[in-house]
């Protein structure tokens, strides 16, 4: 919410991002170039798209581990339908809707069957990944996709990459949803105090279900975008994606218990993760080290935030 600590949190996170940017541009000449920054942005686009909805879901106090598998499954289907004769646009929509269905399933498991969200989405995470493997036999799908398959992921409108325009659009919609609409307000209310939200006349179950549907849909769409960028449908794509998104959301100041967080913070968090990966690549440091650094930054940033907050409160 627009409380003092929320603003402060954003200041800290933006500061961290700028600091990383300065350090990297001092260490590597290539870092601060337009080409490289666009490159980073295209890499984090998937995290930002899915993360936009995941932020609201986590603000409501819920969790989704299945987004990486959903991304893989939808991307796989996008490449799977086209050789069967489905037009590109139809395949795009249907593949994205497969993500919607997984989101709906997650929501129903959590809301109707009252399975804790971590368990429910861990289940669908395994099942969706397995389904992608079963359908493809574990192979990549790259035959008969046609030249238009990669337009979404690699194409441009004027000087702008299509994928970035879409990312910016989705980000803005969810930023607006968070700050100005009942969807955002109810997510904060449910995460802040579920019982109070229920007693205040919010249909808590319906809201959580809706948030899961949004997350599934955007994870599915990210999968389509990813397949288009790679030019291939791969059943194993997106492993670990769920954690990239969760790290970005948490770096962005969203509390694990819910009730706090912001889409804007998630955006900065996604770039922190993106900058580090990109910078280390530029410096020729092996990607194994990236994982260590990612972990350290996550814990360090949350710690820093807490220490500073406690100091301010005295």
């Amino acid at each position: 919410m627009k409380s003092g600590s929320g603003f402060f949190q954003k200041l800290v996170i933006v500061g961290v991002l700028i600091l990383i940017g300065i350090v990297l541009s001092l260490l590597s000449r290539e870092f601060l170039t337009i080409t490289n920054l666009i490159n980073v942005t295209r890499q984090v686009a998937f995290v930002i798209i899915t993360g936009s909805a995941v932020t609201l879901l986590m603000i409501s106090g819920n969790f989704d581990l299945s987004i990486g598998s959903t991304l893989g499954l939808s991307g796989m289907f996008f490449a799977y339908f086209i050789p069967l004769g489905l037009p590109l646009g139809v395949s795009l929509v249907v593949s994205t809707l497969i993500g919607t269905v997984i989101g709906l399933l997650n929501g129903l498991l959590v809301v109707k069957l009252r399975i804790p969200s971590i368990i429910a989405t861990l289940g669908t995470m395994y099942a969706a990944r397995g389904l992608a493997l079963v359908i493809t036999g574990g192979n990549s799908l790259h035959l008969g996709l046609g030249p238009d398959f990669t337009v979404l992921g690699r194409g441009f409108v004027g000087p702008f990459p299509i994928s970035l325009l879409i990312t910016a659009g989705i980000l803005l919609v969810f930023y607006f949803a968070e700050t100005r609409t009942t969807l955002g307000r109810y997510a904060f209310a449910i995460g802040g105090n579920r019982r109070t939200a229920l007693l205040s006349g919010i249909d808590v179950s319906a809201m959580i279900l809706l948030l899961y549907v949004f997350v599934g849909t955007l994870a599915g769409f990210s999968g389509v975008l990813m397949a288009s960028r790679l030019g291939v449908g791969q059943p194993m794509v997106g492993q670990g994606f769920e954690f990239d998104v969760i790290v970005a959301v948490i770096l962005g100041g969203t509390s694990l218990e819910g009730g706090e967080g912001s889409v804007f913070g998630m955006l900065i968090g996604a770039f922190i993760v993106g900058f580090i990966a990109n910078g280390l690549n530029l410096l020729g440091i092996h990607s194994f080290y990236q994982s260590i650094l990612k972990g350290a930054i996550l814990v360090g940033a949350v710690l820093l935030d807490r220490v500073l907050k406690e100091r301010i409160r005295g």
Binding site: S3, T182, R185, L198, G201, E260
Partner: protein
Amino acid sequence: MNANILEVQNLGKSYPGVEALREVSLTIQRNTVHCIVGENGAGKSTFIKILTCAEERSSGKIYYQGAEFRPRTIKEAMNLGISTLFQELNVVNQLTVEENLLLGREETVWGVIRRPDRANKVFQVLKDFAPDIQLNRRVGDLSYAEKQVIEIVKAVAVDASLIIMDEPTAALTEAEAQRLFEVIRTLKQQDITVIYISHILDDIFAVGDYVTVFRDGSVIGTRQIAQIDRPTLIKMMIGKTVSERYVPRQVDYSVKVLEVANLRTPKLTDVSFDLHKGEIIGFYGLRGAGKSEIAQALYGLDTILAGTIKISGRPVRFGIPKHSLRSGIAMVPEERLSEGLILKMPLRPNISISNLKKITRCAVVNSGKERAIAERYVKALNIKASGIEQQASTLSGGNQQKVVISKCLNADSTILLMDEPTRGIDIGAKEEIHKIIRALAGEGNSVIIFSSEYPEILNLCDRILLVADGRIIKEAANQELSAEELLRLITQVKRKKHEIG
């Protein structure tokens, strides 16, 4: 040895905006059963919390066993020999009786638990108090009364000299209560003093030696049980000075806004009553009597097994509170912190949350209108805050409660359920809230008060319904009931007849 186990001098405790205890002084004699009575909010629980070190005192001195008592942690207080039997029992259901008795004091070799020594005092004590409880039974399978005995045995075995019991018979049957009294009498012979807190005056006359009456955070007096009778005790609990008084009001008895007939839920039996336009009715009963359950059933929070609810003559069914609000029923819930407010949020969204529809177009909240609504209620209800963006958690109890009431008023309801509307807030804010309630009814709204504070019920309500054991046991107009009568009826209610699993 000192004849007094506990001496309390000028004990005070204040919370932001509330003085919970004021200049409390009392003396508790060794090896007696000392009862403490008083209405909810009289300061009994705060007193106990300070003794057990769950809360810090603001002022005053306590002498325990002749020495000044200044423990810093709950553990330290326990080590000094003070044990407390809370209503929420502190046993581990998954473990056996034996494991529970030894919990935290197991003898181990390299972390491996040794077979317990049967000569351990705790087993002797269990034999004395309850020879029929077998050591290898799972505590989860025992009755509530048996679990209580396990806790008492544990306390005796660690040489407690003072055992505090908080409403110990609330969940017991008559027979179980009698057995507990036997246990308490045995405790006295074993050099143990008991502080016994209860609403049930029968219990106090059955088991007590002394009784101290608390009212509004002060001690009214201490008497020997043998030298006091029930009416005198009730008079001490009530006091004489009442600043507020019920004034008969004009109610339109021709218009029924709410009709409840033979309502049955898992915790209620055959609840029937009517509510008229502009009327304030009050449900009075002890904690756990079923008042809150009536509110919850009317607010879509409980399964309704049988019976009908009609609003303005039309039958209704609520699945969730959203439906109740749509039918014009709003609720101020019992627990304002965990049910009424979203503490991390400022006042503004806390007030608007129950009726965002009014200020929303295409899911977009009109923030100008939202601010205006919040400002209006802050002014109308005299909420003391730095502004509408102040975080709800930083307000005093009375102002928090006014925010919850604002939220309900903003829902544009004509029927208002208020569960313990002034619990834990200071007298000034209390009277202000009562004034608001009367004004609402004056405007043609109907209000149902659920309260365990009888002055509130007597000052506000046109009609009073007494609740016990999930039933309405009496209904009367305000003028037909005196405070004495009300307390007499409610404190002599028979305990639950059925056994509790």
